[in-house]
Subunit: 313 residues, 2 copies
């Protein structure tokens, strides 16, 4: 079988890292860029990584979607706040029968893609990655990097490990990226929210790192209560997140290096926050199933206020 051709939509801390690893492994990768286009076209990508630095002096860089080749796998590595661009970006570049791989957190992501484009497989990927873009075309990978993959079918039935996700996993393994396969994408998404909702939300609202939140008995309790609310949300959709998983997330965070969450970094750099995907959609989906996530709603409304104020500055 020929190699699959990859497109990376959004060549930032995440897209630049994974796309760079894929190209380094010999895959045919095409990068869409905006602000960094000129630089990357000229000098390529530089990835500093705890697993070993590498440079790609030449990459296939584009700033115009119309000039990109049609690809087998289109990796959506934009922030969800930019998903309003997808109706223009996706249709021209996904091969008929190809794959859209969305590397985004939150809920409601795959439904959004499905409304834009048909006759493709949609795969959700949840990235456990600490990386930052430190300069144009220059990515700094600090920690972790594994991805959980699950295939989407409308209504999110549990589909098991499909051929499609195994193919993608194969390519990513080849690039040295650890992959976990999820039989139930919706469960995987809710599980990711167990961490993302409390830490992303509170880090912005309380101007705090993870270690500060865990060192205070009140925020530590609040984090735990928010996690239980996420589990209640999952439960409203028939997914069970056991208490032991919540305990594992708490223990894991206590042991983590002091960490500024990605939402806090976005906030500090005055970028729009991914509030709807990570907070709004879970609240609304639980509401539809009859569950009120009250403490998460409180956090949501606070974040909306802070985000608006931050964007006005």
């Amino acid at each position: 079988m020929c190699d699959r051709k990859y497109a990376i939509l959004g060549t930032g801390a995440l897209g630049g890292f994974y796309g760079g690893k894929l190209q380094k492994a010999g895959l045919d990768v095409h990068f869409l860029l905006r602000s960094d286009y000129d630089h990357v076209k000229k000098y390529g990508l530089l990835v500093e990584s705890k697993d070993g630095d590498f440079a790609l002096p030449q990459v296939n860089a584009y700033q115009d979607i119309e000039k990109m080749p049609q690809c087998d796998v289109v990796v959506v590595a934009l922030k969800t706040t930019q998903n309003y661009l997808l109706p223009k970006l996706l249709p021209p570049i996904v091969k008929n029968g190809g794959v859209v791989l969305v590397l985004q957190n939150g809920l409601g992501i795959e439904e959004e893609i499905a409304q834009i484009i048909g006759n493709v497989s949609i795969i959700g990927g949840l990235c456990f990655l600490c990386s930052n873009k430190v300069a144009q075309g220059h990515i700094c990978h600090l920690d972790y990097g594994h991805i959980t993959l699950g295939e989407y079918i409308p209504g999110y039935p549990t589909v098991g490990i499909t051929d499609k996700i195994q193919q993608i996993a194969h390519d990513f393994h080849r690039a040295g990226i650890a992959i976990e396969l999820a039989e139930d994408l919706l469960l995987a998404r809710w599980k990711k929210l167990v961490w993302n909702i409390p830490y992303n939300g509170l880090s912005v609202i309380l101007n705090a790192r993870t270690d500060e939140l865990m060192a205070d008995m009140y925020t530590c309790k609040l984090v735990e209560q928010l996690m239980f609310e996420v589990a209640a949300g999952a439960n409203s959709h028939g997914r069970n997140i056991p208490d032991s998983f919540i305990q594992k997330m708490l223990d894991y965070t206590v042991k983590m290096k002091p960490y500024r969450t990605s939402m806090k970094i976005d906030y500090d750099e005055c970028r729009p926050l991914e509030i709807e995907a990570i907070f709004g959609n879970p609240i609304r989906q639980a509401q539809t199933a009859g569950a009120s996530l009250l403490q998460i709603s409180c956090i949501y409304n606070q974040l909306k206020f802070l985000d608006t104020k931050n964007q006005k500055q």
Copy 2:
């Protein structure tokens, strides 16, 4: 009947204002001071007020509770964060059969006094007052000033308008202070919390004035939801706060001049916040009665974190 002798415990923005008004009206008032003692002993009190400025060049100032005369009415005008001082302050100065008038917000206040001292009447007063201490012995009264008074009986039965509160009301009226008499002190306390919980809490957490909170649709909704939770808390103790009251508070705040809440002022000046009286006690009392105030708990835990951090600075 002879005039009642008054003691004012805590001669700040609130105690200095009301005590000053009482003395100006000819009543016998004795002020306990701490940091401002030397200044006030020498120069008295100065009150700038929207209702007319006045100076009291000489006041009965004390820094030692043992030197104060026993009084008919002891006005507790400290912040609740200083109530740990009351077991030392109250017993020496309240006349047998006298009155302790606590001008403090929140719940659990009168029970605390009742545990310290017996054979006195305890009256709760809820002040609607905008005033600041701008310098030593110098108070600036910006707006409002009326007080709601209600007598406390253990278990908070509705006691109606008692003789004791009428006597106090008489003195305050004489000093030009508007008084509303409450037949049900517990209901009055919960009603005051309808305003205090959302605005005090969110102003600190979101670094915002009342007008900013009301101009944003998300915080405006959150304020309203918090108000409904306060009403649910009141309901768990058999007190009904009608929706129309909540609507009135929202309308009233929209029309108010942009206002920095008293808790936000405390926070900005790195003073400890009255979190337990205004948030912790209502949450716990509702919990005891089987009602979970989840969004207020979220605010409570956030405030505890911020207060601790602020006190460490």
